[in-house]
Subunit: 387 residues, 3 copies
């Protein structure tokens, strides 16, 4: 068994200002340090490298993955802020529930756990069992909640960082995220295994969406999304405008207004499926691998505005589409967990860096779904609240 090194354990009064994992596999490393100064003052940062692929994890921001690096190539995007941002500088209800954007600059950020999607008013039972209106902030609370337990371990050729984040308070949902993020020496991928558990004595709802964000250099003019889409629909009239080019991306375009497409992805019999961003030259790609049984919905976010404004695309597998929660509830796309029940999700980010590998990926996609997707010319009112 691998030895588990404790970096943070609030229950047992443990927290390490800095740490280096002993016994990491040859060429690998896992280090923890605490950022100081600016918006990131006090943020815990765990930096993992398997010798070729590196990525950093933010325990202070709900165990999100801040940035990656594949043999010198940046993985992530350049948000228009100087992050990472400590949750103390994020006011979720601010700006009509859009305060989440004040801290948004990660490669992978979880949206949940009680809710995700657009900010909205929801009706929930209050502590007297009566209906109460609450404002749900954009993409929920988990990304601005710090982990209360963080551990690291090495086992054979694998290194991993694990964390526990609790989204809870009296009279509100009490959902625990346990995540393990691991990679193998020399591998071209890392994997998140997440388990969300309802700690409440009563049933709870749960929503999860992985907002995976990529900018330059992978994203560029002519970059393409690669995925086994069975059906695609624009989120709104703005996305309908360029429906025929949903697969391809523009270069940085000042004043560009975002376009979002909702997909129904095909999957292998096991449920395994994928979505990738392929570079314009066809020689590299970032691939997300996940299971449609766990993450049945997929949103593609095109946000190819100017570099300085945050040139980016989001590949977003989720338990739901990122509409306001009441809409998702009405469509049966909100997970319900009994007391003690857990929901498990696995998500892998893989990097390909040769024409052969990208061609292989396209074969793999064709094997899942050989034909073109059904294209909805208009927003699908079953998928989009703006339909």
């Amino acid at each position: 068994m691998a030895q588990e090194h404790v970096l943070t354990d609030v229950e047992n009064d443990t927290w390490l200002d800095s740490f280096e994992l002993p016994g990491a596999p040859e060429g690998c490393s896992l280090r923890k340090r605490t950022l100081r100064g600016g918006l990131g003052d006090g943020v815990d940062l765990v930096e993992v490298s398997n010798g070729r692929l590196a990525f950093s994890v933010l325990p202070t921001r709900g165990m999100g993955v801040w940035r990656g690096d594949w043999r010198g190539t940046f993985l992530g995007w350049k948000a228009p802020l100087c992050g990472p941002v400590h949750p103390r500088y994020v006011n979720l209800p601010d700006r009509g529930g859009l305060g989440w954007l004040q801290g948004f600059d990660e490669l992978i950020v979880r949206c949940g756990l009680d809710s995700n999607g657009a900010p909205c008013t929801d009706t929930v039972p209050d502590n007297n069992g009566n209906p109460m209106q609450v404002q749900l902030p954009l993409h929920g609370r988990i990304a601005n909640t710090p982990a209360n337990r963080v551990t690291a371990s090495a086992d054979g050729d694998e290194i991993a960082v694990s964390g526990t984040v609790q989204e809870s308070a009296l009279f509100t949902p009490n959902l625990r995220l346990q995540t393990r993020i691991s990679t193998k020496a020399g591998s071209n991928s890392f994997t998140l295994v997440d388990e969300v558990t309802n700690l409440r004595g009563v049933d709870s709802e749960m929503q999860m969406l992985y907002h995976v964000n990529l900018g330059a250099p992978l994203l560029g003019e002519g970059a393409r999304v690669l995925l086994p889409s069975a059906a695609v629909a624009p989120r709104d009239p703005r996305a309908s405008e360029d429906l025929d080019t949903w697969r391809t991306y523009r270069g940085p375009t000042a004043g560009y207004v975002e376009q979002v497409y909702f997909h129904d992805l095909a999957a292998a019999a096991s449920g395994e499926t994928l979505a990738a961003l392929g570079s314009a030259d066809g020689a590299s790609a970032a691939v997300l691998r996940f299971n449609r049984n766990e993450l049945p919905c997929f949103a593609q976010w095109k946000c190819t505005q100017a570099e300085s404004d945050g040139y980016v695309t989001g590949l977003e597998p989720g338990t739901n589409y990122p509409n306001p929660k009441p809409f998702e509830r009405s469509k049966g796309r909100v997970v319900k967990l009994a007391p003690g029940e857990s929901y498990r999700i696995s998500l892998t980010l893989q990097v390909l860096d040769s024409t052969e590998e990208v061609a292989g990926l396209q074969d793999e996609i064709a094997a899942i779904r050989g034909e073109d997707p059904e294209v909805h010319p208009e927003p699908n009112p079953e998928w989009s609240s703006r339909g």
Copy 2:
């Protein structure tokens, strides 16, 4: 005179990361440390022990009392969060003014100073003297305001921690809390002496309620509230449902909806009175001792939901009932302080751990109020805004 050791003094640029009180009485200790990691990162914690009774104080959370321990028995409750919670993670106006719950896990938490009770809209003069509507958050600001001065001292067989917390800003109330929390070597009690002063040049309102929260093991099926109630009324129809069993508590009950009873307590001629939670076996109790002239109102909060949801009861002596402030104002239950005027409150928490002591407590209660209370079958519209 006892020597006063300064742990924090913002005016004079003093703050100690850790501290141990020298010259503590035999068997006693008073230590300060700073919590790191998770939601409590940066919270100052003062741990006091008199050899038998221990308790911890949170200067960062308005000098609240986090938890206690009586000879190995836990005093407090297990809120559904991993606390203590730094105020940076508490957004008071959030969730319709219920953000206070995001940090609520203490044994004793003060609710005030400008306001306490349910969140509401109030009308106050703005900086131009015109009426302005403001949202008052649940239970006010004091529990999420850090002390700017903290000292510790030993004197004979007594140890004490003192703190100053200022709830203020330009054009808003400017109320200063000075508290001294002390215990004696080997004693079964500790005492808070609070003084709230209006620092403004004009009259100010003040509200104070001590939210004293107890869960297992003292609370359990068949536990009882022990108090010299002269009259009791349900807060709302939900509390009316189980009016006949207001004295006794259920075991943890998944889905239980809180029930609150408002009391008019009898008192000795001096004003001294008390309220206690007695364990089901009659062999232990936690007793609150206070003066009805200082804290004329008393609320009993039954919240016997599942353990994981925060199984708890609140014994809540206050200057008012925890209704929205405008209601309390209309009933004459908001304190008014002239410029420079202070309001002094003393509150003792005592632990009893034998059948004899509990029987003695019941005799003491009977001596104050021998007969059963007047029972209002319906909410009393003089006491409850939900009446």
Copy 3:
């Protein structure tokens, strides 16, 4: 060339807990330390002295100037709070958008950058290009945003601290403030040179106001504002009440309600102008020097309430008057910056401490504007939204 010492550089992972500038001019010093405890826990403080004039800068609060000292005389005011206040304790949308007051205690605080003035609802394009209503908090965000880069330098007889603060997030304005605050050995003044740059790929609005706040001992009964006013108008009926005494100040007056006067200042041909607070005895003054081309508007804030409530006057040169932003926009007083465009502002605070110097100042004012200002008896609807 002066060597630049880096105190904070988030991009390059630099932050110094404490620092002392080497090679400072004779009698001068520049030190940095980190405050601990209370509301200021974690605030970076840079203390600069030129041997006669000292002032402190708050990188954590947007490079504001906290307090000054002229040969033992306090420069600033005593706000009714125990500051400086870390932004984590400031909830801008709170109390109807007045949360900014929770941290307001500086000598010089910038109000901006996207907006300043009274809290209000504004209509801005959302991330889909559609109109969205947002709540603009009092005086904007810059004073509660930490610098991500701070440097210090000495060059000949000059010492300076510089900082970069970015007010930005995805889909919102992205404005960068670069400031350099410098003084010379033995000088009676220090100077801020600010440059605000639009980092967005599209046009952005900008507002800036310098809220310069002075209390005792310079402010006192009979103190006077000294400035080359071409026209003065009360902000509202309350200010009209005492229009004939707009130049002079009362002593501390419990219950005093603020009075604000808007001015159109005359200027030299170069645009250079000034505004000063002169002490009652005519023997000292604090002078602001700036350029009307950069800061065309001027507000005079009389807030002579009781000492304990924050006895203060504000001298407020700005790009606009501190009305709600939509009003200022409608009057053409909101700056528009093209992508990459910058707006430069220079502001000097100078201290005079002899009757001769103050008389010289009055001559200087008379040379700019010899005659009395045009006095609007009523609020000017072109200047004030309350007109």
